[in-house]
Structures are given as structure tokens and as C-alpha cells.
Amino acid sequence: MTFLMITGRTVNQGATVENKTSAGYAEETSTCFMHEFDMLELGLADQDAVRVAGPCGEVVMRAVASDEVEMGTVFVPYGPYANHIIAADTHSTGMPDFKSHEVEIEPTDEEPKTVHELMEELGGLAYDR
């Protein structure tokens, strides 16, 4: 199903943003907040894994029901998971489309990757000491 993905700040994202190697940060920024009816349509229960595909790739997140989002829209806290699929085009402003991306969402059996795994996939080397 096609959804509009909006990214933004949450308290939990802000509280863990200085500790990005923590499980709390990974959990919060890999959460895909969805309308309950959309979850029903996709056969999803809370915390089920979903594959979210954008124009630049795909990433696995966990679906969580939220009454803050409208049907057809999903909300993902700012972080490496949403940015994994956002396009870098800024339309001559310097600003990518962080709040207006169309994505395809489907259930999956895969587990969300860790922040370290996401970075290593792109050629980085995790540091955790």
C-alpha cells in the first residue's frame, strides 16, 4: 500500500538523540506510526515488522498504531531509518523532502537492523566502546 511518510520530532527521539548507540534510540527512530485502520488493512498488529520502500531503497521498521496520524499517512521520528529511504534532491533549497515522501509499506518477517548495521551497510565502521 502507498503512504505519505512524514518525519518529525518526538520526546523519546529527543531524549535519546545524544545516545545514538542505545537500543532506545534505535527503537524510537525505527517506529512507523500508522492509523489503526491502515494496520488492519495490512493485517498488522502493534510492533509487527514492516518493509518501508521509498525512491532510494527500503528499510525495515516496526508498525505502531497512533491516533495522531490520518489514514494514508505514516509518521516516523527523525533518524537514520527514515533517512535510509529519503531522496537527497533539495529542489534548489538545501532541504530534502523530509515530510512529503511517498512510500510503499508491506508486512515482513525481517527484523529491523541496528543503527550500526545501517551505517556499516553504507561503508561505515561501528564504534561502540
Binding site: E70, T90, L125
Partner: protein
């Protein structure tokens, strides 16, 4: 020991009434700060010493070695990118601009992915703003547009708007109206007197409709605009016109969505229209505690607020061309110095692929997502915790942040000044 009147180093509110309990040179308790500020002030897991990537492992190195690596990297680069700057003090930002000029690099700050578009709008039509204190004491109407302060600036409502007592308001909670315009029914929307739910991407149309109604042209407004009924739009305009002093605060809901700076321009022009009837101001909800400072410092030193390119020998500015996301996506820079930010967590993936291919040095107290792409990371003191320095609040008021701990970490300014001095010496040889 209790340290009073500490300035919170998290968001643009720069709350200056924090009390920090320090025992054995550690922060053990924080009073008055929100959850975000408390977590930052009590932050742990700081990097102990500079690290160098050596193939598939990390090696501990000294500050001298780390500084020498950075000097070599910057002086040998053809087109270095110096990015970040919002999580550090103004004094360090000044050194950063000098460094960029010396190596003919590009210096950009995190506003290019937050309120950069707002600045483009302000450059077009100006900015009728005011300080937070003026809003607290005078505003009887506050509009949050595309902003969710309960999550992003948790004390904005209690210090300046919804729950703040004001000098000219007898009963602030009763006398001050709050309108929230957003695509999501957020926690902030739940405490509003009037919530206007806009269809995503519809902000520009709603702003234009409101401007038409303020001008007395409500007959030409369609029955609904981006999901908002004409009746509700008229009610919003009536509330605005009835206010003695209105304040609009806008967030990334306007700058990150389609239209970007044109949305902000339309919002500023709505405020201009309202100023024909009553007093109205508009201000941006700035995120990083000193992102406003990076715009100020860059502007007084170069004439431009972000995305400044020194490759021609003079300052050149063209957002979309000289901004970090674009430069990385085009694989244009051949080295990057990152200070006080984490682009690996907040930039699109294609930008990170290029960071993996070029030498990267980061100054940051904590390991973060960008650490993975670093060749060298240099841990520094945190401004507002173990270093002092100047930061600009979201309304443009410069505030001196305090130092509550004494650690052996050097400040950003100390490390950058040394790098700059050695770069000058290297160039003089």
C-alpha cells in the same frame, strides 16, 4: 553542590532557570529542565579520547595526532566541507568560518536541513519578529503552525505561551487563545483552543485562503481548502483580528514540506496582512540550542547565513548548490569536518555513501551515527556542561551558557583554534 540559573544546552528555548546538582564532578540531578534537557545534562557514554579508524578497527590516539590529521586533511583537500556548528558555541563557529576561508572550503550549518528555507523566505520579505518575553507578556493569541512544541520544545508553552503568566494578561491561561495548524493531531493540538487540521502539502493554500479572508475576499474562498472548511478559516481570521497582540510560531511542518520557503514566505505575508488590523509577529521554532547562533555568526562574518562557499576566494552563497546535502549527494567534496551535529543520522542515505568514501573528522563528545564514517573523532567538552560560550536563543537573544563541571576535555574553540593556527603555519611554509 547545586548550580543555579544554568542554561539548558538542548533546544532553541535555552531555558535559563535550570538547577543542576553536581556531586563528585558528575551531574546527579536536574531541576526545572524538560526531559530532553535533563537527559542531555545527565548524558553519559562520552568518548574518552580521540580515535582513528585503522582499516576495520579503531585505534586510540592523542589529541596532538588527531589535530595533525585534521590539519593535513583540510590543507590537502581541494574542496573541503565544514558542516554542523549548531551544537557548539559562537566562539567556535567564528574559528570555523576563518578555517573555511583559509582552505577555500564550504561551510554549512544544520539550518540547511531545518530552518534554512525560513531564512530564504525572510531574505525575500523580511521578518516581523519579537523576543519570547514580548510574547509571554503581551500576546493574547498564539498560533503554532507545523510545530509540535510539546515534543520538540517542551517548555515553550509553560514559559512563554499557553501556561505562562504575562504582565499584560490578568489570567493568562483564560485570556490567551492558542491555535494549532498541523497535518497531525499532535499533543500540542490537543491543548489548543482551535485545531485546524490541514491535508499534507496544503499549508500554502490555507495560508493564501487566510490572506484572502483578511483582505475581505472571503467570497472567493472555496467551501474547503486543503481539508479545512471555509467557516473554520473565517473563525481563525476573526480570532486573529480580535487579538490585541498575536504571535505565530512556525516549525518544520512548513520548511520540510512541498513549497518549503514559499510556505514560510506566505506565512510572513499573512502576518503582514494581519498587521493592517492589529499587532502580529512571527518567529521560527529553532531546534538546536545554537543553530540561530550559527546563522548569526555566519552572517556577520560572511554576509550569508549558511551554505557559504569560499572556493572563489570570496564568500558565495547559493542554497541547493552550496549546501551540505547537495554537495554530498553530488559527491563534490573531498574531505569533511563535522562539528556539533550528526549528519549520518539526519541526512539521506546517498549523502552518507559519499561520507564513506572521503576522509572525515568529527568533533563531538559522544559516539554517534557519523562516528562510523569518521577517520578521526575528537571528543570535546559540551558547551553548557563542561565548557562555557555564547549561544543564540530562538528569538535571536545571545545568552552566555554556563559551565557546571570541570573536565579535562578541551572545548570546541580550543581544538579548532589549534587546528586553525597549525593550518596557517602549514600554508605559510
Amino acid at each position: 553542590m547545586i548550580v543555579k540559573d544554568v542554561v539548558c544546552p538542548f533546544c532553541g528555548c535555552l531555558c535559563d532557570d535550570i538547577e543542576v546538582d553536581v556531586a563528585e564532578n558528575r551531574v546527579v540531578a536536574v531541576t526545572n529542565a524538560c526531559e530532553l534537557g535533563t537527559k542531555k545534562l545527565m548524558g553519559e557514554k562520552r568518548m574518552k579520547n580521540p580515535i582513528l579508524r585503522d582499516g576495520d578497527t579503531w585505534k586510540d590516539i592523542t589529541y596532538d595526532e588527531a589535530i595533525r590529521y585534521t590539519v593535513d586533511m583540510l590543507t590537502h583537500a581541494e574542496r573541503p566541507l565544514l558542516y554542523g556548528w549548531s551544537g557548539t558555541h559562537g566562539e567556535a563557529q567564528c574559528v570555523g568560518v576563518h578555517m573555511a576561508e583559509l582552505v577555500r572550503g564550504v561551510i554549512d550549518n544544520t539550518s540547511s536541513v531545518c530552518h534554512g528555507p525560513s531564512i530564504l523566505a525572510i531574505q525575500e520579505v523580511g521578518h516581523p519578529g519579537c523576543t519570547l518575553g514580548v510574547v509571554k507578556n503581551r500576546a493574547d493569541l498564539v498560533i503554532y503552525w507545523g510545530a509540535n512544541p510539546i515534543d520538540a520544545h517542551p517548555r515553550h508553552l509553560s514559559r512563554y505561551t499557553r501556561y505562562a503568566d504575562g504582565f499584560f494578561l490578568e489570567n493568562a491561561f483564560r485570556d490567551r487563545k492558542v491555535i494549532v495548524m498541523d497535518v497531525r493531531k499532535t499533543e500540542t493540538a490537543n491543548i489548543a483552543d482551535e485545531f485546524v487540521q490541514i491535508k499534507p502539502g496544503g499549508d500554502y493554500a490555507v495560508l493564501s485562503a487566510l490572506r484572502a479572508i483578511v483582505r475581505g475576499k472571503e467570497d472567493i474562498v472555496p467551501r474547503t481548502v486543503a481539508g479545512v472548511t471555509r467557516e473554520q478559516l473565517i473563525r481563525v481570521v476573526d480570532l486573529c483580528k480580535a487579538a490585541k497582540f498575536g504571535a505565530v510560531y512556525f516549525g518544520l511542518g512548513l520548511t520540510m514540506t512541498r513549497g518549503k520557503y514559499k510556505n514560510v514566505r506566505n506565512a510572513i505575508e499573512l502576518v503582514s496582512e494581519l498587521n493592517r488590523h492589529t499587532k502580529f509577529t512571527i518567529s521560527a521554532m529553532r531546534g538546536h540550542y545554537n543553530v540561530y547562533g550559527s546563522n548569526e555568526v555566519n552572517t556577520w562574518m560572511t554576509g550569508y547565513p549558511f551554505g557559504i562557499d569560499f572556493s572563489r576566494g570570496i564568500a558565495f552563497y547559493n542554497p541547493g548548490e552550496t549546501t551540505a546535502v547537495d554537495i554530498l549527494a553530488r559527491k563534490e567534496c573531498d574531505a569533511a569536518l563535522i562539528v556539533g551535529s550528526d549528519p549520518a543520522a539526519h541526512f539521506p542515505r546517498s549523502c552518507l555513501k559519499h561520507l564513506a568514501d572521503i576522509p572525515v573528522v568529527q568533533l563531538d563528545p559522544y559516539p554517534n551515527a557519523t562516528t562510523a564514517f569518521c577517520n578521526v573523532q575528537i571528543p570535546v567538552a559540551v558547551t553548557g556542561i563542561d565548557a562555557e560560550g555564547t549561544a543564540y536563543r530562538m528569538d535571536g537573544v545571545p545568552i552566555r551558557t554556563r559551565k557546571v563541571l570541570s573536565t579535562s576535555y578541551p572545548s570546541d574553540e580550543e581544538v579548532l583554534s589549534r587546528i586553525y593556527r597549525e593550518m596557517q603555519e602549514a600554508q605559510a611554509v
